[in-house]
Symmetry: C2
Subunit: 113 residues, 2 copies
DNA sequence: TATATAGTTAGCAACATGACTAAGCATGAT
DNA sequence: ATCATGCTTAGTCATGTTGCTAACTATATA
């Protein structure tokens, strides 16, 4: 399972940048224009544009243009694969603990003899 | 909050690579030697070493050397900040939905007049 | 129509990343 | 002591990422 999974890589990569995470947090509040998003970052517009297209390619936001204004909106479900990966990891880890418990139980029973 | 948060960036970056994720999944099962980890990847040892040090720098694994064998072990708690970030995002998103509900309620009441 | 606003495109520079090979250094087995 | 094993270091190379400026397009607004 999860042979290639480029979608997950894209997701993690998109969120590995603090600027992009702050954009995500801002957009979690409410949709915003490109210029609104650029403001707090202190970065130039083309730079912010690039960050936005990384987020959009990863499916984390959608954008639409009305007149000369582009509005960005988050896509909350886009985070689901990440949560799923986390849960899978935890699940494997926990079954490992279970196996360890089994092992300990076995040893204990051995000693009871 | 989360002004810089380089730890989170490091975490996300470390997990953005499929090789590193597969190593994590493998290590969730049980600790392993460097060579054991290299095998399935088809990559050369120095390359795998680099991946391992990225994971170790991110705090996702620890390693220890016994004789000439280095054993790698996952640090499950290292994923906590990621889960926390996800929860924070969701929380902001949900309170936004609440505010939207409030807004809708307000409109509805306006209409009742 | 002229001007400001909002975004876009192109291209550049600096640095980071992920792969490799070649060579080295301990440790364990013969 | 010699050789194989397991890892480590150093150095190279191609590509990707993040920032910039400059110049452009398209839409308001005066």
């Amino acid at each position: 399972m999860t042979k290639h999974d480029p979608k997950l890589s894209q997701l993690f990569h998109a969120l590995a940048d603090p600027t992009r995470r702050s954009i995500m947090t801002r957009l979690a509040e409410t949709p915003a224009r490109v210029t609104d998003l650029a403001g707090p970052t202190g970065l130039r517009l083309p730079t912010v544009m690039r960050h936005l297209s990384v987020l959009e390619d990863a499916g984390l936001i959608t954008t639409s243009k009305d007149g000369r204004i582009r509005t960005c909106t988050i896509v909350p479900e886009a985070l689901d694969p990440m949560q799923t990966w986390l849960d899978e990891q935890r699940s494997i880890w926990e079954s490992r603990l279970d196996r360890f418990d089994d092992y300990v139980m076995k040893i204990m029973k051995e000693r009871e003899k």
